[in-house]
C-alpha cells in the first residue's frame, strides 16, 4: 500500500492499488490451505494404518483371545492381509480407503463403511446443532458482558461472568450429561433419558454438549469485543452519535467474528470428539458410541475406520473454518501473507 505522489505536489494517492493483490492473496491462501488439507489427510491415513501395526504382539490374536484355534487366527490374518510385507499392505490400504472400503468388523462381520455411513450422520447432527446453539447464545452474551464491563465498570458483572464461565468451561460434557439425565429424565421425568427417538430426545444431548463451548465462546467474544471497543473507529462512531445498538451490531460485531469463529470452529472439532462421551451417556446411535465399543472389544477394523473418519472430519472442518474466515474477513489473508 505504497503511496504515490505526483511531481506537482498535488495529492494523488494510490487508487485502491491493493485490490487485485488482495484477491489473488485470497486465492493463494485457499490453495495453500487445500494443499495442507490433502497432505494432512495423507499423514492421517498413514497414521491410522500404522496404528494397527504398532499394537504390541498380534492384533488378531489379541482380538480373538488366547483360546482361538491357530487356523482361525491364520485365516483372519490372511483375510486382513497382515501376512504380506507392509509396503504392499499400505498400498492396498490406501486403495481400499480411497474406494470407501474400510474392512469388516471382527465381531459382527458388518462392513465398516456401512457402520460409518449409518452412524456418522447421527453424530454430525448433534455436533452441528450444539455448535449453532453455542454460537447463538455465546456471542450476544459475550458482547453484552463486554459492553457492561467496558473500562472496568460494573465489577460485579465482570467477576460473576468470569467465575460462571470459568466454572462452566471446567466441567466436562459427560458430567453435564449425567446431571441432565439425573435431573430432567430420572427425577422430573420431563425428557427421555436415552436413545434417539423424537425431537425431544435431542434436547438433553445438545444441551450437554453446548454448555462448555457456550462459556468458552462467550469469554472469547467478550475479550474480542472489549478489544474492539478500545479502537479509534469506535471512538469516531461514538463521536458521530451512532445509536448504541447500531454501533455494536454493525461496527463492533463483524470485527470480533474472525477470532470468535476460529475458536468456534476448533470447538466444533472438539465437539465431534466430545460427542463420544455424550453419545455413551445417552446411548445415542452415533459413531462415538461405536468407537468406544470397538476399542473395548478389540474390534480393530471398526476402531481404525472410525478414528480415521473422525480425524478426517476434524481436518475438513478446520479447512472450512479457514475458508469461511477468508471470505468474512478479507484482511486476514493479507495479514497471513
Amino acid at each position: 500500500m505504497a503511496e504515490l505522489k505526483n511531481p506537482a505536489g498535488a495529492s494523488i494517492d494510490a487508487p485502491a492499488a491493493a485490490r487485485p493483490p488482495a484477491r489473488s492473496a485470497t486465492a493463494r491462501r485457499l490453495l495453500r490451505h487445500a494443499v495442507r488439507l490433502v497432505v494432512s489427510l495423507a499423514v492421517l491415513m498413514v497414521a491410522s494404518f500404522a496404528m494397527i501395526h504398532l499394537i504390541p504382539g498380534d492384533p488378531v490374536r489379541a482380538s480373538l483371545g488366547p483360546a482361538a484355534p491357530v487356523e482361525l487366527v491364520e485365516a483372519r490374518r490372511a483375510a486382513l492381509g497382515l501376512d504380506r510385507p507392509w509396503p504392499e499392505q499400505l498400498l492396498t490400504y490406501t486403495g481400499d480407503v480411497l474406494t470407501g472400503n474400510f474392512g469388516t468388523s471382527f465381531i459382527t462381520g458388518e462392513p465398516v463403511g456401512q457402520i460409518i455411513a449409518t452412524r456418522l450422520p447421527n453424530t454430525l447432527v448433534l455436533a452441528l446443532l450444539a455448535t449453532l446453539l453455542a454460537l447463538a447464545v455465546a456471542i450476544p452474551l459475550g458482547m453484552w458482558a463486554a459492553v457492561r464491563t467496558e473500562n472496568g465498570r460494573n465489577r460485579g458483572t465482570e467477576a460473576g461472568f468470569g467465575a460462571a464461565t470459568g466454572a462452566a468451561v471446567a466441567v466436562p460434557e459427560f458430567l453435564y450429561s449425567i446431571a441432565l439425565v439425573a435431573v430432567f429424565a430420572i427425577w422430573l421425568k420431563w425428557l427421555p433419558p436415552a436413545s434417539k427417538a423424537g425431537p425431544e430426545s435431542y434436547i438433553l444431548p445438545i444441551l450437554a454438549m453446548s454448555i462448555g463451548p457456550t462459556a468458552m465462546i462467550a469469554r472469547i467474544s467478550r475479550a474480542q469485543t472489549l478489544r474492539e471497543l478500545g479502537q479509534d473507529y469506535v471512538r469516531l462512531a461514538r463521536a458521530n452519535r451512532l445509536p448504541v445498538v447500531r454501533l455494536h451490531l454493525r461496527h463492533v460485531l463483524p470485527n470480533t467474528l474472525t477470532a470468535t469463529l476460529t475458536v468456534g470452529g476448533l470447538l466444533l472439532t472438539s465437539l465431534i470428539a466430545g460427542s463420544v462421551l455424550v453419545e455413551y451417556v445417552f446411548a445415542w446411535p452415533g459413531l462415538g458410541q461405536r468407537i468406544v465399543e470397538s476399542i473395548t472389544m478389540k474390534d480393530y477394523p471398526v476402531a481404525q475406520g472410525a478414528i480415521l473418519v473422525y480425524g478426517a472430519l476434524v481436518l475438513i472442518v478446520n479447512f472450512l473454518v479457514d475458508v469461511l474466515i477468508g471470505v468474512l474477513d478479507p484482511t486476514s489473508a493479507l495479514k497471513e501473507n
Partner: protein, 576 residues
C-alpha cells in the same frame, strides 16, 4: 483464584490423608449390603461387593491425582522438547516439527488419547500415555511461541553473535525466560489431564478393576443411575470440583502474572458555578476539569473560546492533557473519567478526527460515511451514498465512487485520513476537533492533510481545534495557539507572535528546540531539561518551575494565574 487455590489444596490434603484414613473401609466387603442406595451408614450407598462408596471416593482421590500428574508430566516433557526442537534443529527438521505440532494442536485431545489407547491397550497405562500425548501438542505450541518471542530478544542475538552454540543458547537464555508461563500452563494442563483421564475411565477405556479412580467409580455408578442416582453423585462432584479448582487456579495465576488490580475509587470533578456562553462561539469552555479516580486530574480549569472560521492549535507534550481536552469537547471522556466545568457550550455539530485514521476495517468506506447521514439526518440510502461520494470528492480522493466501494485496508493511510475528514463533513459541523491527525502519516502526506483542513475552513466556515505535540505544525496551520503544560493552559497567543513574542518560558523553550535553516547542525538540538510532572504529582506552585531557568521561590510556592499580557495574549507566569 482464592476458591481455586482452596479446592486444589483440599484435593492435595485428601490425596495425602485419604488412603490411610479410609483405605480399609473402602476395601471392606460386606455381602449383606450390596448395591445399596444412600443410607445413614453409607451416605453415598455401596457397590456390588457392599463396599462403602463415600470411602471409595475419598480414597480414589490419590490415584486420580497421581495419574493426572503423571500424564501432565509426560505431556509437558514431550511437549516442551517438541516445542524447543525447532530452535536447535537444522531448517528442514525445524519446519517438519513445526508442521507436525501445528497439525496435532488442531486435533481434539480425546481422539489422540483413543488412538494411543488402541495401541497401548485398555487400562491406566494406555489412558495416561494417551492423555499425555493429548496434552503434549499444546505445550509444544506454547513453547514454540514463547521461544520465538525470546529468540528475537537482544540478549539472544548478542549471544548468537558471540558464537554461543545453539543448544547452550536454548538452555541458558531461552528456557529460563519462558519457564514462568510454562509453569502457569501446567496448572491448567493438570486440570485437563484429570478430566481427560476421568473421561477415559468413564468410558471403560481407562482404569480397570480392581484399581479405581473417580472416572471408574462414575462408570460403575452410571450403570445404576436409574435405580440409585445418588451413587453417581460422589465421583461426579469430585471430578467437577477438581476440574473447576484447577481451572480457576490456573486462570487466576495467569491473570495475576499479567496485571495488578486497578483502583476502585470513584472520580470526583469540581462543579463550579455555571456561567453564560458567548452566543457567537462554536465552542465556549470555562474551567473545564477532567478527573480520574485516585485524585488524578489530567485537565484543570481550562478555558477556551473558539469562533467560527478560526483554527486554534492546542500544543503540549504527551501527558499535558490536550487529548483529554479534545475528548471532553467531543463528549468522549472514557469511563471512569469525570468532566466538570462552569460552562461547556458547543455552538453546533462537532466532528472528530483522530491520530490513526479511524475507519472500521470490516465495513466499506462509503457505507460508513453514508451511515452518519442516514442515522443523523434521516437521509435515504441513495441520497446518503450520493452525499458520501460528493464529500469524498471534496477531500480530493481520486475516483470517489470507487473509493466508496473500497474497504479501509485498500486505501493508504493518507487516503483513510481524508475519508475520515470527509465523514466529518457529512453533516455541517461548526467545529472539527482534530486530535494529532497527521502524527501517524509521513511528512509529505502531513502537508497535504494540513492544506485540506485549511481548505475546509475556507470553504465551509467551520472552526478547527487542532491538537498536536508539534509546535511547528501548529505554527504553520493555526490562527491562535494555546499551550498546555501539566493539565493547565500556560499561554495563549496569536500565531504571528509565536516566533518573537512568546512570553512563557515553556513556550519559548518549545520554539527554541525547533531546528531551522540557521541551526548549527554540529551542535546537539536544544532540549528542555527535566520532565513534565504526572497529573497526580502537580504541587502548589507553577508546574513548570522545576524545569524553568527563571524560577524563583514564589514560582515554587504559588501558582501564577492566567492573566492578560497583550491583545489576544494571555500568559500564566510570574516572571513574564
Amino acid at each position: 483464584m482464592r476458591a481455586g487455590l482452596a479446592i486444589v489444596a483440599a484435593l492435595i490434603v485428601l490425596a495425602i490423608i485419604g488412603p490411610p484414613l479410609w483405605g480399609d473401609q473402602a476395601e471392606a466387603i460386606n455381602s449383606a449390603a450390596i448395591l445399596q442406595g444412600a443410607s445413614a451408614a453409607h451416605p453415598l450407598g455401596t457397590d456390588n461387593l457392599g463396599r462403602d462408596l463415600l470411602a471409595r471416593v475419598l480414597v480414589a482421590g490419590r490415584f486420580t491425582l497421581m495419574l493426572a500428574l503423571l500424564a501432565t508430566a509426560i505431556g509437558a516433557v514431550v511437549g516442551t522438547v517438541l516445542g524447543a526442537l525447532p530452535a536447535v534443529l537444522p531448517r528442514k527438521g525445524a519446519r517438519f516439527v513445526t508442521g507436525l505440532v501445528n497439525a496435532l494442536v488442531a486435533f481434539p485431545g480425546l481422539l489422540l488419547a483413543m488412538f494411543v489407547a488402541v495401541i497401548a491397550g485398555l487400562g491406566a497405562k494406555g489412558a495416561v500415555l494417551g492423555i499425555g500425548a493429548a496434552i503434549a501438542p499444546g505445550f509444544a505450541r506454547l513453547t514454540q511461541t514463547l521461544a520465538a518471542s525470546v529468540a528475537g530478544a537482544d540478549y539472544v542475538s548478542a549471544a548468537r553473535m558471540l558464537g554461543v552454540p545453539r543448544g547452550r543458547i536454548l538452555a541458558r537464555h531461552v528456557l529460563p525466560n519462558i519457564a514462568e508461563p510454562l509453569i502457569l500452563n501446567l496448572t491448567q494442563a493438570m486440570g485437563g489431564a484429570l478430566l481427560g483421564l476421568a473421561g477415559m475411565s468413564f468410558l471403560g477405556l481407562g482404569v480397570q478393576p480392581p484399581s479405581f479412580d473417580w472416572g471408574r467409580l462414575l462408570f460403575d455408578g452410571f450403570a445404576r443411575i436409574y435405580l440409585t442416582p445418588e451413587v453417581a453423585l460422589g465421583p461426579a462432584v469430585a471430578v467437577a470440583l477438581a476440574g473447576i479448582g484447577f481451572n480457576l487456579l490456573g486462570d487466576g495465576l495467569v491473570k495475576k502474572a499479567r496485571r495488578a488490580r486497578p483502583s476502585t475509587d470513584k472520580a470526583v470533578a469540581p462543579r463550579p458555578e455555571p456561567v453564560a456562553a458567548d452566543p457567537e462561539a462554536v465552542l465556549d469552555v470555562r474551567e473545564l476539569t477532567v478527573a480520574f479516580p485516585g485524585g488524578v486530574t489530567p485537565v484543570r480549569e481550562l478555558s477556551l473560546t473558539i469562533r467560527p472560521g478560526e483554527i486554534v492549535g492546542l500544543v503540549g507534550e504527551s501527558g499535558s492533557g490536550k487529548s483529554l481536552t479534545a475528548a471532553a469537547v467531543g463528549g468522549l471522556v472514557p469511563y471512569p473519567g469525570v468532566v466538570g466545568a462552569s460552562l461547556l457550550h458547543r455552538g453546533g455539530e462537532v466532528a472528530m478526527v483522530f491520530q490513526e485514521p479511524a475507519l472500521n476495517p470490516a465495513l466499506k468506506v462509503g457505507g460508513q460515511l453514508a451511515e452518519v447521514a442516514i442515522v443523523r439526518d434521516g437521509l435515504s440510502r441513495a441520497e446518503a451514498r450520493e452525499r458520501a461520494i460528493d464529500r469524498l470528492g471534496r477531500v480530493h480522493l481520486p475516483d470517489p465512487a470507487r473509493s466508496a466501494k473500497s474497504h479501509p485496508h485498500e486505501l493508504s493511510g493518507g487516503m483513510r485520513q481524508r475519508a475520515v475528514i470527509a465523514m466529518g463533513l457529512m453533516g455541517s459541523p461548526k467545529l472539527i476537533v482534530a486530535d494529532e491527525p497527521t502524527t501517524a502519516l509521513d511528512v509529505t502526506v502531513q502537508g497535504q492533510i494540513l492544506k485540506l483542513l485549511r481548505e475546509v475552513v475556507d470553504q465551509t466556515g467551520s472552526a478547527v481545534l487542532f491538537i498536536s505535540h508539534d509546535i511547528a505544525v501548529v505554527g504553520e496551520l493555526c490562527d491562535r495557539v494555546v499551550v498546555m503544560y501539566a493539565g493547565r493552559v500556560v499561554e495563549e497567543l496569536p500565531v504571528k507572535e509565536l516566533a518573537a513574542g512568546a512570553a512563557h518560558p515553556y513556550t519559548r523553550a518549545l520554539i527554541a528546540s525547533l531546528p531551522d535553516m540557521e541551526t548549527d547542525r554540529s551542535r546537539p538540538l536544544a532540549s528542555i531539561p527535566g520532565r513534565q510532572p504526572a497529573p497526580a504529582d502537580v504541587g502548589e506552585g507553577c508546574a513548570f518551575a522545576p524545569r524553568c531557568a527563571l524560577a524563583t521561590e514564589r514560582c515554587a510556592a504559588e501558582r501564577p494565574p492566567l492573566t492578560v499580557y497583550g491583545p489576544a495574549h494571555r500568559v500564566a507566569c510570574w516572571e513574564a
